[in-house]
């Protein structure tokens, strides 16, 4: 259903947007040495009660009124089960939520990484008032992107969801990741 990791992550990011976060941190670690992909998605949105956290991976848990199933989190959990991974959610009402995912990098069922730049573009397009901090790491390099830096250059009058700006962000992130990957070789 979800063809790549970036789509799974986007879905979790959309939950953070829906939870009213003003800051979303996205950490993606691609480690050959540890044979592991680690993903951390942290927000300062409205959070969930303990009881809700227990139920959140159940597909029949949703805040939606348009349908009875909520799929984003259960898809991601399913992926970790399929790829010999770990899934964890920590959340506190009024404080925020962090989703931790780890996957076996060499697992035969691991979906492709997908387009992380496009993922960030879609997130920012969804809500351009939120600040996003994105970090990509592998065994030797790191690339970081922070919308606060972008706003510093652009000034307050230009929203980040201007099409030209969105495309620039997408390409900037993909270039940065590509460079981090190449240097590693």
């Amino acid at each position: 259903m979800m063809q790549d990791l970036a789509m799974h992550m986007l879905e979790i990011i959309m939950n953070s947007i829906a939870a009213g976060a003003s800051l979303i941190r996205i950490l993606f670690i691609d480690s050959k040495a540890k044979d592991e992909i680690q993903i951390e998605l942290e927000d300062n949105g409205k959070g969930m009660s303990e009881e809700m956290v227990k139920r959140v991976t159940d597909p029949f848990t949703t805040g939606r009124t348009t349908r009875k199933v909520g799929l984003g989190v259960s898809f991601m959990k399913g992926l970790t089960e399929q790829c010999n991974g770990v899934f964890d959610v920590k959340s506190q009402l009024g404080v925020g939520t962090t989703v931790y995912v780890s996957l076996q990098r060499s697992h035969i069922d691991l979906p492709p990484l997908g387009n992380l730049g496009e993922m960030m573009m879609a997130a920012i397009q969804g809500n351009a008032d939120i600040n996003y901090q994105f970090t990509y790491k592998n065994d030797s390099n790191e690339f970081a992107f922070d919308t606060i830096e972008v706003r510093k250059e652009l000034g307050d009058e230009v929203p980040l969801n201007e099409p030209q700006i969105l495309l620039w962000i997408r390409d900037y992130i993909n270039e940065g990741i590509q460079q981090a990957k190449e240097e590693q070789l």
Binding site: M7, E11, L71, N115, M119, E153, E162
Partner: protein, 125 residues
């Protein structure tokens, strides 16, 4: 290589576009980006819409919405006109997205064959 410096140069032009927008765009193009939409391929559709709008300066803003309760028809793109009337396009892919901008937003022609009504009629047959 791109650098954050580029943004300083982009600022002026972006600012002009924002000011123009204050006057209002005629169309709002809305993509469903809940899990149902994303799983069905809404992300490349959104990508295409943003690219084409940036390149061809269409008279629209592209925005997102959650689940509108027609998950089987995703990816869904809704086009709202100035007078509030709207058209729901279903099973949209990047190619259809390009045509929707070209025909509907660009020329005001509704693409009947891509609408939810057409899809429902086809099913009933």
């Amino acid at each position: 290589m791109k650098s954050l410096e580029d943004l300083k140069k982009m600022r002026e032009e972006a600012l002009k576009k924002v000011e123009m927008r204050e006057g209002g765009k005629d169309y709002r193009v809305v993509v469903g980006m809940a899990t149902c939409g994303i799983a069905a391929g809404a992300r490349p559709v959104l990508n295409k819409l943003v690219e084409e709008t940036a390149e061809k300066n269409y008279n629209c803003v592209v925005t997102q919405t959650g689940c509108i309760g027609m998950c089987v028809y995703e990816p869904i793109v809704e086009v709202y006109g100035k007078d509030g009337e709207h058209t729901t396009y279903v099973y949209v892919d990047p190619e259809k997205a390009t045509r929707i901008l070209e025909e509907h937003v660009g020329k005001g022609h509704i693409l009947e064959e891509y609408t939810v009504d057409a899809a429902k009629k086809a099913e009933a047959r």
